[in-house]
């Protein structure tokens, strides 16, 4: 006979949940009733156990979320508590982000600088190469794992906790971590690669996406809010790679849409006082796909417009679509243009949650949030937020003129760090000059 709803969490902890006093999403997760988890929760928790075992044996180093990272706990779909570090973060940037929507990353840095949070913007980071992996392309599991662990080792060396900006990297790393921990052969082969470059296996205790960081920082961001967002209606597109890959490790909250949607991004919209709207195709991909943007761009582009943009606009009349991944912002924003040329009318600006937060905190829409890179018309949205975009545009043009004339551009810099690197950047690539 099954006694209550006993849930095995890790090796030594067991919790008893009764139907009445557990919240919905915990119940879903613990009873494996959540469809998103695909029945792998147990395997996932087993993997975390194995990780601790390997650490005890001295096979791997775990980059723990120590107290010095000032962690905040969140609940994940597996029912487990995950520690999100809030300071001393190693910024793991995204390839597409820097290329297509630079405002995304500069807004995040700006928020951290405003809140006095030290971070490391390392030049010694490589691409996760998961783009190839999803494009049925050139890579393999050993190579992907090696790239993952190389980046994690760099962060560990710098004594900063990796904060992953890109949904694809985040999803890929979660999968790679699973492979490295559970498969001895991969571990052995990866270690030999890492040893060649003077590194070893360092696995972060938690893999953290930046949207989870914004989620735990939402109250502090809301305290710094300078604009009134109560008239703004925002819809959310959760990025597939963050919450569909190793689904059990992403953040959910009973109080955010009943725990039936991922919590980050929705939570920040609510915290900023904007109206959060829901739409029927929330679970659908942005159109970017796992490989479709590479091989079937007509379908990817059409999907973005017909399955995302149109339903959002028609069903909710939202002012802005907020998401938390590079590929999603780019695809959802850029794909509208062709449809508009065809004569379709529905359009909506697409920005990241970091840009929305920064705008609300009073960041410059062009110097910091760089909305000039976004194609869908953002003017009505800025007006609704009470931003004088014409004035800001003027300021931005002046700034460009000043730089053209040889003036110094301004940079966002990290507040001074409290932690010092574990080693003196012995592996850093020396950049001449």
């Amino acid at each position: 006979m099954i006694e209550g709803n006993a849930v095995q969490l890790g090796k030594d902890e067991e919790i008893q949940l009764s139907k009445e006093d557990t919240k919905l999403f915990e119940r879903l997760a613990s009873e494996r009733k959540a469809k998103l988890a695909m029945g792998t929760t147990e395997d996932y928790l087993k993997m975390l156990d194995k990780m601790r075992e390997l650490e005890k044996k001295g096979e791997i180093i775990i980059h723990h979320v120590e107290e010095e990272y000032k962690p905040v706990g969140v609940r994940t779909l597996s029912g487990r508590e995950k520690k999100i570090p809030t300071v001393e973060l190693w910024q793991h940037k995204s390839c597409g982000q820097c290329g297509h929507i630079p405002g995304y990353i500069s807004a995040l840095y700006w928020i951290m600088a405003e809140l006095g949070i030290p971070f490391v913007d390392d030049t010694n980071q490589t691409s996760c190469t998961a783009w190839n992996y999803y494009g049925s392309g050139a890579s393999n599991s050993v190579a992907l794992s090696a790239v993952f662990l190389r980046n994690m080792h760099v962060a560990w060396e710098k004594n900063a906790y990796p904060l992953i900006h890109c949904g694809t990297s985040y999803g890929d790393y979660k999968e790679c971590r699973y492979l490295v921990v559970m498969n001895e052969d991969i571990r052995r082969r990866v270690r030999s690669i890492l040893n060649k470059i003077g590194r070893d296996i360092v696995i972060p205790e938690e893999l953290v996406h930046y949207s989870e960081w914004l989620h735990v920082m939402r109250q502090r961001i809301a305290e710094r809010k300078k604009l009134d967002l109560s008239d703004v209606k925002a819809a959310v597109h959760p990025a597939c790679h963050t919450y569909k890959l190793m689904a059990e490790d992403y953040t959910y909250d009973e109080n955010i849409l009943g725990g039936t949607r991922p919590a980050p991004t929705s939570s920040i919209i609510l915290a900023l006082g904007a109206k959060l709207v829901d739409y029927s195709t929330w679970y659908d991909c942005c159109g970017f796909g796992f490989r479709h943007i590479l091989t079937e761009r007509e379908i990817a582009r059409s999907f973005a417009y017909f399955r995302k943009i149109r339903p959002v606009v028609k069903e909710t009349g939202a002012d802005v679509l907020v998401t938390h991944d590079t590929g999603c912002v780019t695809t959802l924003d850029k794909s509208q243009i062709v449809a508009l040329a065809h004569g379709y009318k529905e359009t909506i600006p697409v920005i990241s949650d970091s840009q929305l937060s920064a705008l609300a905190m009073g960041a410059h829409p062009f110097k910091v949030c760089q909305l000039q890179w976004h194609l869908a018309d953002w003017k009505p949205f800025l007006e609704k937020m009470g931003i004088d975009w014409q004035k800001a545009q003027g300021e931005y043009k002046e700034y460009l003129e000043m730089i053209k004339k040889g003036g110094k551009p301004s940079f966002i810099r990290s507040p001074e760090r409290t932690l010092s690197p574990r080693s003196e950047g012995m592996h850093d690539i020396k950049i001449a000059g």
């Binding site: 059409s302 999907f303 017909f306 062709v338 040329a341 065809h342």
Partner: protein, 150 residues
């Protein structure tokens, strides 16, 4: 633009129905030419509504009146000599799409109804007495006439 030319650059073109591709001859965005594959859109294939107007027409005809008895067992298609030669002709499927009112699918396949040779084998085996052969006749009339059978 002919159906064959439309969307020929789509990698998996053979899986996309012609009717779902929109590719105008000339398309411009802010003075930049995006004709051809730069401007192609593919409409979704989701069924968004049930349209029972065709069902009403078929039902109103003497030999189509039993269409609603069909429960999709496939006995008609199993025995149909034409279906063994023409994969496009499937009496079971035609009955279903008309009954449910999937108008885009009906539009795509309505010409296949004329493959029916009228042998009547289907009607002799149908466990529900749908009279598929009669339904095919009713459909062939209904698909032709805009107003329905009078």
């Amino acid at each position: 633009m002919s159906d064959e030319e439309k969307g020929k650059h789509i990698v998996e073109r053979k899986y996309v129905d012609d009717s779902r591709i929109i590719e105008p001859e000339k398309l411009e965005i802010g003075g930049i030419d995006v004709s051809g594959h730069w401007g192609t859109l593919v409409l979704p294939r989701t069924i968004e509504d049930f349209d029972n107007s065709m069902l009403k027409k078929v039902k109103s005809m003497p030999r189509g009146k039993n269409i609603e008895k069909c429960w999709q067992c496939g006995n008609c298609t199993a025995i149909c000599p034409v279906a063994h030669a023409h994969p496009e002709f499937n009496p079971r499927y035609l009955i279903h799409i008309v009954k449910m009112g999937y108008s885009a699918e009906v539009e795509k396949l309505k010409d296949t109804v004329y493959f029916c040779s009228g042998c009547g084998l289907c009607s002799s085996v149908c466990p529900k007495g749908v009279d598929p052969q009669g339904v095919m006749i009713a459909m062939s009339i209904a698909f032709k006439s805009k107003k329905g059978y009078r």
